[in-house]
């Protein structure tokens, strides 16, 4: 099976530009996203990392037009293979994009599957959206998908209901459903957070194989830096509704530039860390009803300067593939700036 369309490794399959999304709540307007800019490449895994409430899930939902009623898209673009998805009608999204082009899997596999339908019914429903080849063929395809995600006894599995499966199996059934539509981009929102490490290791291997064998691009949303290092090629670091840094996974761990990225990398225990090596970030994540002015990280930043509370830092290119939004980072004028 080959992929829909062709997107090369160096080409962007998804480009999010200056995206701003607000939610109207009883307490006021929550500026969940305010100028999110990053891209996901073809045939690679892009990580979107950040802490609770930073807007990483909202970003994923915006791409697929799945935001709640109280959300307002204030500005920005979501360019998928050259087309702005924000211009598409609900019908166009449903008919041409969701599932077929871009699929999404969520954190809790238990609540993403319908408890009253068998695995076969749920996978073939997805298959029918894309190619309805009749009952027999659909079932064969369903078995093929289940085998692709390394689920044993695929034929027997078709008759099972979700409650008969373990968490790791359910998450793989979700992947099989999504693969049956043959999308070019998979958005995975904390897919292993509810899973044990041994099951997580199995799952990550399946994702890696999907990327390598089918050429599916993956946008991997997580708060877990260790998982990012395991699976991602590139990373976008989010803080309080903004991207603070876009960089390769190697750069993130070896030379992160934004003070938040640096703190984040040094707050996670690894093999040879002792407690005193771990850095803490003073304060806590701001509420986005009344976010800090200027750089949203400045109240917690140990390196803040005068204009950090005034002016919003823009993403600046600091390397061939490295952008950072911080006033303290000097940019060489010769390199790529206008």
């Amino acid at each position: 099976m080959t992929n829909n369309g062709n997107t090369d490794r160096d080409e962007n399959i998804l480009e999010i530009e200056d995206l701003a999304v607000s939610f109207d709540t009883e307490e006021g307007e929550v500026e969940a996203l305010d100028g999110v800019t990053f891209s996901a490449r073809g045939k690679s895994v892009t990580g979107l990392i950040g802490e609770t409430g930073c807007g990483k899930s909202v970003t994923g939902l915006t791409v697929l037009g799945l935001l709640d009623q109280n959300a307002r898209i204030k500005r920005g673009k979501v360019i998928y293979k050259g087309e702005d998805l924000l211009d598409k009608s609900e019908r166009e999204l449903e008919k041409n994009f969701r599932g077929k082009e871009i699929a999404m899997i969520f954190q809790d596999p238990g609540s993403s599957l319908n408890p009253v339908f068998t695995v076969e019914e749920q996978i073939t429903e997805a298959i029918k959206m894309y190619q309805n080849a009749g009952r027999e063929k659909n079932r064969d395809l369903a078995v093929e998908m289940l085998e692709k995600v390394k689920l044993p006894d695929a034929v027997q599995l078709l008759r099972r209901y979700p409650h008969e499966l373990s968490g790791g199996m359910k998450q793989r059934v979700m992947i099989a459903m999504m693969l049956s539509c043959n999308p070019s981009l998979l958005i995975a929102d904390e897919p292993t957070t509810a899973l044990d490490v041994s099951i997580q290791a199995q799952f990550i291997k399946v994702l890696r194989e999907i990327k390598e064998e089918l050429g599916t691009s993956i946008l991997y949303i997580t708060h877990d830096l260790a998982v990012i290092s395991e699976i991602c090629d590139r990373v976008s670091v989010m803080y309080a509704g903004r991207i603070v840094e876009n960089l390769s996974v190697m750069e993130l761990f070896h030379e992160p530039l934004h003070p938040y990225s640096r703190k984040l990398v040094h707050s996670v225990p690894g093999v040879e860390t002792s407690l005193s090596d771990l850095e803490e970030i003073p304060g806590s994540v701001p509420r986005l009803i009344n976010p800090p002015t200027g750089c949203r990280f400045h109240p917690r930043c140990e390196e803040k300067g005068e204009n950090c509370s005034g002016e919003v830092p823009r993403l600046k290119r600091v390397g061939p593939d490295h952008e950072v939004a911080c006033h303290k980072i000097e940019v060489q004028e010769s390199e790529g700036s206008p």
Partner: protein, 314 residues
């Protein structure tokens, strides 16, 4: 070294429509004075049940819980309350373990009152302020309700409540797993400092193996209701003897992009604790199993490096 707490053949079974769930099935474990013992294992292995049975928040089915040599399981109500004054518990989810209708002061006043630790209202007040300050909070937080606090602050109140009774052992059941990493470090450092100040002993439960490795002196690995390996953290990580321990550690992603988990270290799923397999519980998933593993259950035995392991081939 002195064991402050010793679990002997501790069992906790639950009845379910499918049969008896052996959540904790014959655990032998010593906790030494002044150490941090890390307890790791995957979900459903019985870590939380073990702690609750040791505190008699649920009654153990069988076995002994020796607190400084005395069996807590045999204690009457009055002595049990006393014993619980020596063992504190911090829960995983700070959002649901604090009563939303009580202020921070009321939350902290309760254990002090129940254990009758302060003679006057003024002493109680000062004690509450002291507890808050130990956890990096202050007097002004007393009148706050839990919903007015951040996740990290709530968990610090949770720890302060556990410390209110002046325990000797603190059981920490995934205390930071509901928190963001940037907040986690602060709690961990506060816990370490408090431990030194108050000469505490910690039993730290976590599924985050990198975290346990960083903070524990010794580590105990649980699988399906049993301890499969226990020993010095450095030894166990450097040279895991039980095939489950080895597979578990190899499954853990590291924050290092040069490190890759190439093969799946632990294939298959954890079997149901309702009908655990005969012999060694891990045998069906074990790459090294021999015939004996499926017939006879291995007991914890000590190896040269002082690590105890329950395995026929280790």
């Amino acid at each position: 070294m002195n064991a402050i707490l010793e679990l002997r053949n501790l069992k906790k079974f639950f009845d379910s429509p499918e049969g008896t769930v052996k959540a904790v099935d014959g655990v032998n474990l010593k906790v030494y004075q002044g150490e941090t013992l890390g307890l790791v294992g995957e979900s459903g292995c019985g870590k939380s049940t073990l702690v609750r049975a040791a505190l008699r928040l649920i009654e153990p089915t069988k076995g002994e819980v020796l607190l400084r040599g005395e069996d807590v399981v045999k204690f009457d109500r009055k002595r049990l309350v006393e014993a619980r004054g020596q063992m504190g518990l911090v829960f995983q989810d700070p959002h649901s373990s604090l009563n939303p209708r009580m202020t921070v002061a009321e939350i902290l006043r309760r254990p002090i009152k129940i254990h009758d630790l302060c003679d006057s209202e003024e002493m109680t007040y000062n004690r509450i302020v002291e507890l808050l300050e130990t956890m990096g909070l202050s007097e002004e937080h007393m009148i706050r309700y839990p919903h007015e606090l951040s996740g990290g602050q709530k968990q610090r109140v949770g720890v302060a409540r556990a410390l209110a009774v002046e325990p000797e052992i603190l059981f920490l059941d995934e205390p930071t797993s509901a928190l963001d990493v940037s907040v986690q470090t602060k709690i961990l450092k506060l816990l370490r400092r408090t431990m030194d100040q108050l000469s505490l002993t910690y039993v730290f439960i976590s599924h985050d193996i990198n975290l346990i490795r960083t903070i524990s002196d010794r580590i105990a690995v649980m699988y399906l209701g049993k301890i499969v390996e226990v020993g010095d953290t450095g030894e166990v990580f450097f040279n895991p003897l039980h095939p489950y321990t080895k597979g578990l550690f190899e499954s853990v992603p590291l924050p290092d992009p040069e490190h890759r988990i190439e093969e799946v270290p632990l294939p298959g799923d954890v079997p149901s604790p309702v009908n655990p397999p005969p012999g060694c519980n891990f045998a069906p998933r074990c790459p090294k199993k021999i015939d004996r593993c499926e017939e006879e259950e291995p007991e914890l035995g000590e190896h040269e490096n002082g690590v105890q392991v329950a395995c026929w081939v280790a």
